[in-house]
Every structure is written in C-alpha cells, then in structure tokens.
C-alpha cells in the first residue's frame, strides 16, 4: 500500500476529529509529503538516525534461544537505539517536521514512557518546548521514565481522567492540540490516530524493516521465514513489517497483549477480540461494548495497554497478510526471564510479548528462521519486574 490520499487502508483509517483540527492535519499531511520527497530533509533525517540514534541497529543471532525454541532466532536490536527503543525514529522525524512547520511547542502522549522520553529527547536536541501527557497509573508504573523526561526538560502532565492510562493520555493530548493547534505540533507515538499519522509514523519507522531485510540478505543470503513484533498501537510492528509485506513467503506475526487471557476480558487485544469502530480519530479494530463505549484494557505492559490499534494493522489482518496472536501477562513475564537468561538481552515488557510467541505451539515450524523485533530494552521495567518476580 503506497500513499493513501484519503488516509484509508482498505476501509480503515480516515479522520474522525473535531473540525478545528482538520486544517492542521491537512497542513501536516502536505508538509510530510513535501519533506519526505525532499532530499535535504531525507539527508538530515538519515544523518540524525546515523549519528544521533545510532543506526543501523544490529541484527543479533540468538543461539541459546534458538536451541530452547527449536527455531533459528535472530533479533533486530531497536533496544540499542538512543533512548532504548524504536520510538526515537518517529520522534526525530516528527520533531524535524515540527521545526519545518515553524511550530515551537510539541506535545506527546505516552504509555510506557518510551515515546515521551524519545520526544523529550528530540525536543531537547532541537530546542522545542515539550509537554507530555501520561496516565497517572502509567506514571506510577514507569516512574523512572517520568524522571527521565523531566531531566530532559519536558513537562510531564499526569492524566487523571478515565482509565488513567495511554487511552486517556491520548484524549488529553488531543484536547490540548484542539486548544493550541496554531502553535503546537502533536507527536503521536504510534501508528494510530487520524490521517496522516498512521501513514507518516509507518514511513518514519519503516527504516527498521528495510535495514533488517538488508541485514538478513547479507548474513543469511535469504529472508527470514517469519518476522515477529508486539502490537499495541503498532508502530514498531508496522515499521518492521512494511518492508516485508510484499515478500509473501515471509510470515508476519503481530503479538497483542493477552493480559489475563482473552476469555477473561482483561486484555488489550482488539485485533483478536475487538470489532471495528472509531477511537482517536481513526476507524480501526477497537475494544468496545455493544453500545460503542470503549472498554477498559489490561496489560502488564503500559505500552500495549491500549484499546485501539493502527488502521493499517486492521487492514493487514482482514486481508490475511499478518497473523495477529496474543500473549498473556504470564507468558510475557516468562519470556522476559528466558530471553534475559539465555541471551543476556533484557527486553521491555512490550517486547517480551513478541518473544513469548516463540514459545507458543503451532505458530512456527521447527527450524524456521524467525526474526523478532526487539522494540525496546527492559531497564524501564526493572522496578515493576522486581515486584512481580520473586528472584
């Protein structure tokens, strides 16, 4: 899928926002198109990815994890990006755009705090004012990231409305944007939201998949049999999948947060157990009740604890190109420990869901070459992990 002029991926996406925001979305879509085609913008973006973010990130073979799973596992190391997660790719891109558009103030929402940290980092580097909305519950589960953002000069605004997690942080950021739209750029951190966000965020994150594809070809002389990524809103997943979508022999697997199990209702797996609806400006799979009210979600991982999902994922699900599964909190915590002990790689709780899929029966054939997108490192989760695990 190339440029959706209407902002649609099949029936999904679009713009369901207050009229006040539409001109800003038009401006953003136009400016992004121009910038993306502009060699000087690309040069600057690529230079920053290289010199500031530390790209290309390595592809790491995982012999002990391979032995434990009966697969040939390699890992795309987004955890080695500056700030510790893939989120910085998009934050750098959007903050460059904000500067281009002459917007001096930037806002962001954050769940686990990684996108907030990435945005605060880019804002510090580019001299932009930064305010980050974060659910009160997430502020508590990710207190280290709250401190990091403040250290970077950002203002963190705890959100006490609704579920006090990522969903309501997005609501509050949208309300701020409606109010300050003339001076402010809203850096959405995931591949959801109104057009052009799902498309733009994918483009900024697609570097993950293009690099990984080249690395696989160079090292193995072939593409992987499968690519696995965790899916909350879905930015690391769409970033790594995009280059592989046309390669039909490559199986693509997205792993949603199964929480306490899909049957419990306490999860964050709209592609597995939701239905299409409108949230945060976009038509996509959603966890909602029979009256269209958005349902509360649960996941051990703040970054996946979101009732919606990026529009392109809904499309890729419907056409059968990507298989979306889920991993429970327990499966993710188990994978979190296994990967740490077997490979010396401590994944973020979000990423641990992707690793959990390696242990699920029936997903892969024995001996399959499987590449996992290690979207982030687990340092931010140490406090929570130490409470959850008796070691």
């Amino acid at each position: 899928m190339v440029v959706p002029a209407s902002g649609r991926f099949g029936p999904y996406g679009g713009r369901y926002v207050p009229e006040t925001l539409v001109p800003a979305l038009d401006e953003l879509a136009d400016e992004f198109q121009r910038a993306w085609a502009d060699e000087s913008f690309q040069d600057e973006f690529q230079r920053l990815l290289r010199e500031y973010v530390g790209r290309p990130t390595p592809l790491t073979d995982c012999p002990r994890l391979s032995e434990a799973t009966g697969l040939k596992v390699s890992v795309k190391r987004e955890d080695l990006c500056h700030t510790g997660a893939h989120k910085i790719n998009n934050a750098i891109g959007q903050c460059l755009l904000a500067k281009r558009m002459g917007k001096k103030r930037v806002i962001a929402e954050t769940g686990a705090g990684q996108h907030g940290v990435a945005t605060a980092t880019a804002c510090a580097a580019f001299d932009l004012r930064c305010e980050v909305y974060m659910g009160e519950e997430d502020c508590a589960r990710q207190e280290l990231n709250v401190f990091r953002m403040r250290l970077l000069g950002a203002k963190v605004i705890p959100v006490s409305s609704g579920t006090r997690t990522l969903k309501d942080a997005l609501n509050e950021a949208m309300r701020d944007w409606v109010t300050n739209v003339r001076t402010t750029h809203y850096v959405i951190g995931t591949a959801a939201g109104p057009h052009p966000y799902p498309y733009m965020v994918r483009q900024f994150q697609s570097v993950i998949g293009f690099e990984a594809k080249r690395q696989c070809e160079e090292r193995y002389g072939q593409l992987p049999d499968a690519v696995v990524a965790c899916v909350g809103g879905g930015s690391n997943a769409i970033g790594v999948f995009h280059a592989f979508v046309p390669e039909e022999a490559v199986q693509l697997v997205g792993v949603e947060a199964g929480g306490c199990g899909l049957e419990s209702g306490k999860h964050a797996a709209p592609l597995n157990a939701g239905s299409p609806g409108v949230l945060h400006g976009s038509y996509s799979y959603l966890m909602q009740d029979e009256h269209g009210q958005v349902l509360p979600t649960h996941s051990v991982s703040a970054g996946l604890d979101y009732p919606g999902v990026g529009a392109e994922h809904s499309y890729l699900k419907d056409i059968g190109r990507v298989r979306y599964v889920s991993a429970t909190d327990d499966e993710a915590l188990s994978a979190f420990q296994q990967v740490s002990r077997l490979e010396g790689l401590i994944p973020a709780f979000e990423t641990a869901h992707a690793f959990a899929a390696l242990f699920q029966p029936g997903l892969f054939r024995k001996g399959d070459r499987v590449m996992v997108c290690m979207s982030g490192r687990g340092d931010k989760d140490m406090v929570a992990a130490s409470r959850l695990l008796q070691l």
């Binding site: 207050p18 009229e19 001109p23 609501n171 609806g277 909602q288 009256h291």
Partner: protein, 266 residues
Amino acid sequence: MTGRERLEATFEALRGRREGALVAFVTAGDPALDRLPAVLGALAEGGADIVEIGVPFSDPIADGPVIQASSFRALERGTTPRAILECLSRVDCPVPLLLMGYWNTVLRFGPEEFATRAAEVGVCGTILCDAIPEEMDEWFAVSRRTGLANVLLAAPTSSPQRLDAIARLASGFVYAVSRTGVTGARDEVPAEARRLVSDLRARASTPVCVGFGVSKPEHVGDICRFADGAIVGSRLVAHLHETGDRPDWEASLRTLVAELKAATRA
C-alpha cells in the same frame, strides 16, 4: 413536518420576534435518565428554544472537564443510546430536540437504524463532534432520507474552502465553535467568533449559532447581536450537577435558563 423543517420554523419564528435562539445542552443520564423528561420540561419552560441532548461517550475528545465528568457519571449509571431514544419516545417536548455526541455511537448502533429511530421519537437532528463533511457521505444520505437536520461544526481554523462545504452541507444550523479548544465556560466571547459567523453568513442562509465557552447572559447577549443563537452547555450541566438533588431544582434551572433567554431579546 420533518425535524429539519421544524428547526427552520423555529428560527423563522425567532426572526419574526427579533430574538436570538437560546440553545441549551444537557447530558442524557446526568441526572439519571428517568429525570430527563423533567429536565427538558424545565428547559423549555425557562425559555430554551432548542435543546441538545448529549449522548454520553467514553472518550469525548471535544469536551472539557465539566462535560467529560458528566458523561462519565451518565455512563456509570448505565445510560445507553437505546435507553435515551426509548425515554424520548415518551416525551412530548414543545421545543426541537437534537442529539449531540460522537460518531462511534451512531456507527455501532447502525447509522440507518439510529436515524430512523431518532426521527420516529421526534428528534429533529444530530450534531456529531468528530464527524467532518468528507467522511460523512453515508450519514448525509441517511439523515436526508429520515428528515433529520445535520448540524455541522465550523471552527475558527476552518479554511474558506471548508467553510464553503460546511455552509452548503449543514442543515438546521451551523454550529460555530467560538475558539480553538474544548467545551467549557470561559470569561469572554473571542473576536474570532464574530469573524467566523460573518464568513458563514456570507456563504449560506442557514442560521449560525455560537457555542463553546458561552456561560453567562452577557455572552448570550453579545453573540445574539451578530449570530442567530447562542449555545450554552457546560454551565447548565454544572448547574444541574450542583443543584439536581435539591427539592427546588426545577425552579432553579428554569430561573437560570430564563436569565440566559432574556439576553437573546436585548
């Protein structure tokens, strides 16, 4: 008479009396839904010319803290779109009623069924805060078929081309958003509201009402000097929340509405 025609007649009568419209907003289900008929009665007796009934949604991104909290209370009480329509089927309100809310509610209900049922129970039209003209072809067709007015929002940031489309496609009235921002009481009516109204009036004869931040009789009076009506929401919602449990709540609501209405005649 269709809902659309009823609204047209309302504005025509107001013009004849040289009055602006007082458009009142309340959330269905806050106070409890079984009290909605009494609330509507008090609003109409107080002098509201049109009433917008908020259909609560879990994620109201266009609303400020007062209406957010009110929506949340309504949802806590189990208020559903179906129950709201059922309640309205038993109400014979003398003033036109509009349903205001968010697109996902209608989408989930089924647009065709929602519009049909709304028209059946006497609703005159809808205002969907996150529905912009380019996404709404299907809804325009459905609301035309059922005779419902389709009130569209226009914002101070809307481009001339967008105002053209909004003025052409809106029916009932155009909801001019007074400022960039969410709903909720403010101190004054910004100058850009006046500009927006004159830009809209230059494009179509559809009446233009101004809302967002309108809370005092002075605001209503200011607005009615340059627009066809003023919309008061958060102020009424907050008042109902504060006074709703008092024995004299109906009289208190009537008095507040009457003060606001008087300003439309100045």
